[in-house]
Protein backbone atom coordinates (compact mmCIF):
# COMPACT_ATOMS: atom_id res chain seq x y z
CA UNK A 1 0.00 0.00 0.00
CA UNK A 2 1.28 3.42 -0.91
CA UNK A 3 0.05 6.55 0.80
CA UNK A 4 -1.01 8.88 -1.99
CA UNK A 5 -2.11 11.91 -0.03
CA UNK A 6 -3.55 12.84 3.35
CA UNK A 7 -5.24 15.67 5.19
CA UNK A 8 -5.90 15.97 8.96
CA UNK A 9 -8.67 13.39 9.15
CA UNK A 10 -8.48 11.56 5.85
CA UNK A 11 -6.08 9.45 3.81
CA UNK A 12 -5.94 7.96 0.34
CA UNK A 13 -3.88 4.84 -0.30
CA UNK A 14 -3.12 2.95 -3.45
CA UNK A 15 -2.93 -0.82 -3.43
CA UNK A 16 -0.69 -2.15 -6.20
CA UNK A 17 -1.82 -5.70 -5.46
CA UNK A 18 -5.54 -5.06 -5.69
CA UNK A 19 -5.31 -2.29 -8.32
CA UNK A 20 -7.51 0.00 -6.31
CA UNK A 21 -7.54 2.89 -3.85
CA UNK A 22 -8.45 2.93 -0.19
CA UNK A 23 -9.99 5.99 1.33
CA UNK A 24 -9.80 6.30 5.14
CA UNK A 25 -12.18 8.75 6.74
CA UNK A 26 -13.63 9.10 10.25
CA UNK A 27 -12.63 5.58 11.28
CA UNK A 28 -14.12 4.01 8.16
CA UNK A 29 -12.34 2.54 5.19
CA UNK A 30 -13.78 2.69 1.68
CA UNK A 31 -12.43 0.72 -1.25
CA UNK A 32 -12.54 2.57 -4.56
CA UNK A 33 -11.62 1.38 -8.03
CA UNK A 34 -10.13 3.95 -10.38
CA UNK A 35 -13.52 4.82 -11.80
CA UNK A 36 -15.01 5.17 -8.35
CA UNK A 37 -12.17 7.42 -7.30
CA UNK A 38 -12.72 9.80 -10.22
CA UNK A 39 -16.50 9.68 -9.77
CA UNK A 40 -16.23 10.56 -6.07
CA UNK A 41 -13.87 13.42 -6.79
CA UNK A 42 -16.30 14.79 -9.38
CA UNK A 43 -19.25 14.43 -7.01
CA UNK A 44 -17.39 16.34 -4.30
CA UNK A 45 -16.60 19.18 -6.67
CA UNK A 46 -20.19 19.35 -7.90
CA UNK A 47 -21.72 19.79 -4.44
CA UNK A 48 -23.18 23.28 -4.23
CA UNK A 49 -21.75 24.47 -0.91
CA UNK A 50 -23.16 27.96 -1.31
CA UNK A 51 -26.65 26.49 -1.59
CA UNK A 52 -26.01 24.41 1.56
CA UNK A 53 -25.07 27.54 3.48
CA UNK A 54 -27.93 29.73 2.23
CA UNK A 55 -30.74 27.19 2.42
CA UNK A 56 -32.69 26.96 5.70
CA UNK A 57 -34.32 23.70 4.74
CA UNK A 58 -33.95 20.90 7.26
CA UNK A 59 -30.91 18.78 6.42
CA UNK A 60 -29.52 21.28 3.93
CA UNK A 61 -26.31 21.52 5.93
CA UNK A 62 -25.33 17.95 5.09
CA UNK A 63 -24.67 16.28 1.76
CA UNK A 64 -25.18 12.59 1.05
CA UNK A 65 -22.78 11.08 -1.44
CA UNK A 66 -23.38 7.53 -2.67
CA UNK A 67 -20.29 5.35 -2.96
CA UNK A 68 -19.30 2.00 -4.45
CA UNK A 69 -22.38 1.55 -6.63
CA UNK A 70 -24.70 2.73 -3.87
CA UNK A 71 -23.56 0.06 -1.43
CA UNK A 72 -22.36 2.72 1.00
CA UNK A 73 -23.08 6.34 1.69
CA UNK A 74 -20.97 9.25 2.84
CA UNK A 75 -22.82 11.80 4.95
CA UNK A 76 -20.79 14.97 4.93
CA UNK A 77 -20.92 18.30 6.72
CA UNK A 78 -19.65 21.44 5.02
CA UNK A 79 -16.34 21.23 6.92
CA UNK A 80 -15.87 17.65 5.82
CA UNK A 81 -16.66 18.47 2.20
CA UNK A 82 -14.05 21.23 2.28
CA UNK A 83 -11.48 18.84 3.69
CA UNK A 84 -12.23 16.17 1.08
CA UNK A 85 -12.10 18.79 -1.63
CA UNK A 86 -8.53 19.29 -0.55
CA UNK A 87 -7.78 15.59 -0.25
CA UNK A 88 -9.03 14.30 -3.60
CA UNK A 89 -7.57 16.90 -5.94
CA UNK A 90 -4.33 16.71 -3.91
CA UNK A 91 -4.28 12.94 -4.41
CA UNK A 92 -4.98 13.47 -8.10
CA UNK A 93 -1.96 15.74 -8.40
CA UNK A 94 0.23 13.09 -6.74
CA UNK A 95 -1.12 10.45 -9.14
CA UNK A 96 -0.42 12.69 -12.11
CA UNK A 97 3.08 13.21 -10.81
CA UNK A 98 3.43 9.44 -10.61
CA UNK A 99 2.23 9.17 -14.22
CA UNK A 100 4.85 11.71 -15.32
CA UNK A 101 7.51 9.78 -13.45
CA UNK A 102 6.46 6.56 -15.16
CA UNK A 103 6.45 8.07 -18.64
CA UNK A 104 9.79 9.87 -18.16
CA UNK A 105 11.70 7.23 -16.25
CA UNK A 106 10.28 3.84 -17.15
CA UNK A 107 8.76 4.30 -20.59
CA UNK A 108 11.14 6.83 -22.07
CA UNK A 109 13.12 5.65 -25.08
CA UNK A 110 15.05 8.88 -25.55
Amino acid sequence: MHLVHNTNNAKIWQSDIENCFYFDFKGQQYKLNVCGFIALKTKLINIDIEEMIISDELGADIAIVPLCNDERLLVLTIDEILELRELFPGAMVMLELNSILHSRVYSSTL
Binding site: Q14, D16, V34, I38, T42, M92, L95, S99, H102, S103
Partner: protein, 176 residues
Protein backbone atom coordinates in the same frame (compact mmCIF):
# COMPACT_ATOMS: atom_id res chain seq x y z
CA UNK B 1 4.01 2.62 -7.08
CA UNK B 2 2.12 1.42 -10.16
CA UNK B 3 0.69 3.98 -12.53
CA UNK B 4 -2.87 2.79 -11.87
CA UNK B 5 -4.44 5.92 -13.31
CA UNK B 6 -2.73 5.46 -16.65
CA UNK B 7 -3.40 1.73 -16.71
CA UNK B 8 -7.13 2.18 -16.26
CA UNK B 9 -7.82 5.57 -17.77
CA UNK B 10 -6.46 6.43 -21.20
CA UNK B 11 -7.50 10.06 -20.99
CA UNK B 12 -6.25 12.86 -18.78
CA UNK B 13 -8.67 14.37 -16.38
CA UNK B 14 -8.81 17.85 -17.88
CA UNK B 15 -9.41 16.44 -21.37
CA UNK B 16 -12.10 14.18 -19.96
CA UNK B 17 -13.87 17.08 -18.33
CA UNK B 18 -13.68 19.11 -21.56
CA UNK B 19 -15.14 16.16 -23.47
CA UNK B 20 -17.92 15.90 -20.92
CA UNK B 21 -18.68 19.59 -21.41
CA UNK B 22 -18.84 18.96 -25.14
CA UNK B 23 -21.24 16.06 -24.53
CA UNK B 24 -23.50 18.52 -22.73
CA UNK B 25 -23.18 21.10 -25.50
CA UNK B 26 -24.19 18.55 -28.17
CA UNK B 27 -27.13 17.39 -26.07
CA UNK B 28 -28.23 20.98 -25.57
CA UNK B 29 -28.00 21.57 -29.33
CA UNK B 30 -30.11 18.49 -29.94
CA UNK B 31 -32.82 19.84 -27.63
CA UNK B 32 -32.63 23.31 -29.18
CA UNK B 33 -33.04 21.94 -32.72
CA UNK B 34 -35.99 19.87 -31.61
CA UNK B 35 -37.67 23.02 -30.29
CA UNK B 36 -36.89 24.74 -33.59
CA UNK B 37 -38.43 21.83 -35.50
CA UNK B 38 -41.60 22.27 -33.47
CA UNK B 39 -41.66 26.00 -34.19
CA UNK B 40 -41.19 25.40 -37.93
CA UNK B 41 -43.93 22.83 -37.97
CA UNK B 42 -46.34 25.17 -36.15
CA UNK B 43 -45.59 27.84 -38.75
CA UNK B 44 -46.00 25.46 -41.69
CA UNK B 45 -42.34 25.46 -42.76
CA UNK B 46 -42.40 21.73 -43.30
CA UNK B 47 -39.02 21.34 -44.95
CA UNK B 48 -37.33 23.44 -42.30
CA UNK B 49 -39.06 21.32 -39.67
CA UNK B 50 -37.67 18.19 -41.32
CA UNK B 51 -34.24 19.85 -41.46
CA UNK B 52 -34.27 20.53 -37.72
CA UNK B 53 -35.57 17.08 -36.83
CA UNK B 54 -32.62 15.68 -38.75
CA UNK B 55 -30.22 18.15 -37.10
CA UNK B 56 -31.55 17.23 -33.69
CA UNK B 57 -30.79 13.56 -34.42
CA UNK B 58 -27.33 14.43 -35.67
CA UNK B 59 -26.49 16.34 -32.52
CA UNK B 60 -27.58 13.40 -30.44
CA UNK B 61 -25.30 11.19 -32.53
CA UNK B 62 -22.46 13.64 -31.91
CA UNK B 63 -23.14 13.46 -28.20
CA UNK B 64 -23.09 9.65 -28.26
CA UNK B 65 -19.90 9.58 -30.30
CA UNK B 66 -18.06 11.55 -27.61
CA UNK B 67 -19.84 9.62 -24.87
CA UNK B 68 -18.60 6.30 -26.27
CA UNK B 69 -15.09 7.65 -26.74
CA UNK B 70 -14.84 8.77 -23.11
CA UNK B 71 -16.18 5.42 -21.92
CA UNK B 72 -13.94 3.40 -24.20
CA UNK B 73 -10.77 5.05 -22.97
CA UNK B 74 -11.81 4.25 -19.42
CA UNK B 75 -13.11 7.67 -18.46
CA UNK B 76 -16.38 8.56 -16.81
CA UNK B 77 -18.91 9.88 -19.33
CA UNK B 78 -21.64 11.92 -17.71
CA UNK B 79 -25.19 11.97 -19.05
CA UNK B 80 -25.73 15.72 -19.11
CA UNK B 81 -28.35 17.92 -17.56
CA UNK B 82 -30.18 19.92 -20.22
CA UNK B 83 -31.87 23.25 -19.66
CA UNK B 84 -35.14 24.09 -21.39
CA UNK B 85 -34.36 25.31 -24.93
CA UNK B 86 -35.77 28.53 -26.36
CA UNK B 87 -38.98 27.68 -28.17
CA UNK B 88 -40.28 31.08 -29.25
CA UNK B 89 -38.87 32.72 -32.35
CA UNK B 90 -39.86 35.90 -34.20
CA UNK B 91 -39.20 34.62 -37.69
CA UNK B 92 -37.76 31.77 -39.73
CA UNK B 93 -34.70 33.89 -40.32
CA UNK B 94 -34.17 34.26 -36.58
CA UNK B 95 -34.33 30.48 -36.25
CA UNK B 96 -31.53 30.02 -38.76
CA UNK B 97 -29.49 32.90 -37.38
CA UNK B 98 -29.67 31.34 -33.94
CA UNK B 99 -28.63 28.04 -35.49
CA UNK B 100 -25.55 29.61 -37.03
CA UNK B 101 -24.63 31.18 -33.68
CA UNK B 102 -24.93 27.75 -32.06
CA UNK B 103 -22.80 26.07 -34.67
CA UNK B 104 -20.12 28.73 -34.39
CA UNK B 105 -20.06 28.29 -30.62
CA UNK B 106 -19.69 24.52 -31.09
CA UNK B 107 -16.88 25.01 -33.60
CA UNK B 108 -15.03 27.29 -31.18
CA UNK B 109 -15.49 24.81 -28.39
CA UNK B 110 -14.19 21.89 -30.48
CA UNK B 111 -11.16 23.95 -31.52
CA UNK B 112 -10.42 24.79 -27.89
CA UNK B 113 -10.52 21.12 -26.94
CA UNK B 114 -8.22 20.23 -29.85
CA UNK B 115 -5.85 22.94 -28.55
CA UNK B 116 -6.01 21.44 -25.06
CA UNK B 117 -5.30 17.97 -26.50
CA UNK B 118 -2.18 19.27 -28.21
CA UNK B 119 -1.02 20.90 -25.01
CA UNK B 120 -1.60 17.66 -23.10
CA UNK B 121 0.03 15.54 -25.84
CA UNK B 122 -3.21 13.58 -26.12
CA UNK B 123 -2.83 12.58 -29.76
CA UNK B 124 -5.59 9.97 -29.60
CA UNK B 125 -8.21 12.48 -28.47
CA UNK B 126 -6.96 15.02 -30.99
CA UNK B 127 -7.27 12.44 -33.73
CA UNK B 128 -10.73 11.50 -32.51
CA UNK B 129 -11.80 15.17 -32.61
CA UNK B 130 -10.64 15.69 -36.20
CA UNK B 131 -13.93 14.22 -37.39
CA UNK B 132 -15.75 16.96 -35.47
CA UNK B 133 -13.51 19.68 -36.89
CA UNK B 134 -14.49 18.60 -40.39
CA UNK B 135 -18.14 18.12 -39.48
CA UNK B 136 -18.34 21.67 -38.12
CA UNK B 137 -17.06 23.14 -41.38
CA UNK B 138 -19.91 21.40 -43.19
CA UNK B 139 -22.52 22.33 -40.61
CA UNK B 140 -21.62 26.00 -40.67
CA UNK B 141 -21.57 26.01 -44.45
CA UNK B 142 -25.06 24.49 -44.68
CA UNK B 143 -26.58 27.12 -42.40
CA UNK B 144 -24.69 29.96 -44.06
CA UNK B 145 -26.05 28.79 -47.40
CA UNK B 146 -29.59 28.92 -46.07
CA UNK B 147 -29.04 32.39 -44.59
CA UNK B 148 -27.82 33.53 -48.02
CA UNK B 149 -31.28 32.75 -49.37
CA UNK B 150 -32.79 35.23 -46.95
CA UNK B 151 -30.38 37.86 -48.28
CA UNK B 152 -31.27 37.02 -51.85
CA UNK B 153 -35.01 36.50 -51.56
CA UNK B 154 -36.07 38.64 -48.61
CA UNK B 155 -38.77 37.67 -46.16
CA UNK B 156 -42.06 38.12 -48.01
CA UNK B 157 -44.44 35.15 -47.55
CA UNK B 158 -43.67 33.85 -51.05
CA UNK B 159 -39.97 34.23 -50.45
CA UNK B 160 -40.24 32.30 -47.21
CA UNK B 161 -42.00 29.45 -49.00
CA UNK B 162 -39.24 29.37 -51.61
CA UNK B 163 -36.60 29.37 -48.92
CA UNK B 164 -38.36 26.50 -47.19
CA UNK B 165 -38.29 24.61 -50.51
CA UNK B 166 -34.56 25.28 -50.76
CA UNK B 167 -33.92 24.00 -47.27
CA UNK B 168 -35.12 20.58 -48.42
CA UNK B 169 -32.47 20.58 -51.17
CA UNK B 170 -29.68 21.83 -48.94
CA UNK B 171 -30.37 19.16 -46.35
CA UNK B 172 -30.69 16.46 -49.02
CA UNK B 173 -27.45 17.31 -50.82
CA UNK B 174 -25.35 18.70 -48.05
CA UNK B 175 -24.21 22.23 -48.62
CA UNK B 176 -23.46 21.77 -52.29
Amino acid sequence: MKDLMRQRVGVQENIMSLLNKQIKMEAQASATYLAMAAWCEQNSFDNSAAFFYAQSNEERDHMLKIFHYVSEVGGVAVSPEISAPKSEYGSLREVFETTLEHEIAVTESIHQIVGACRKANDYAAENFLQWFVKEQVEEELTVKRILDYFEMLGEEPMALLMIDERVAKVSANGAY
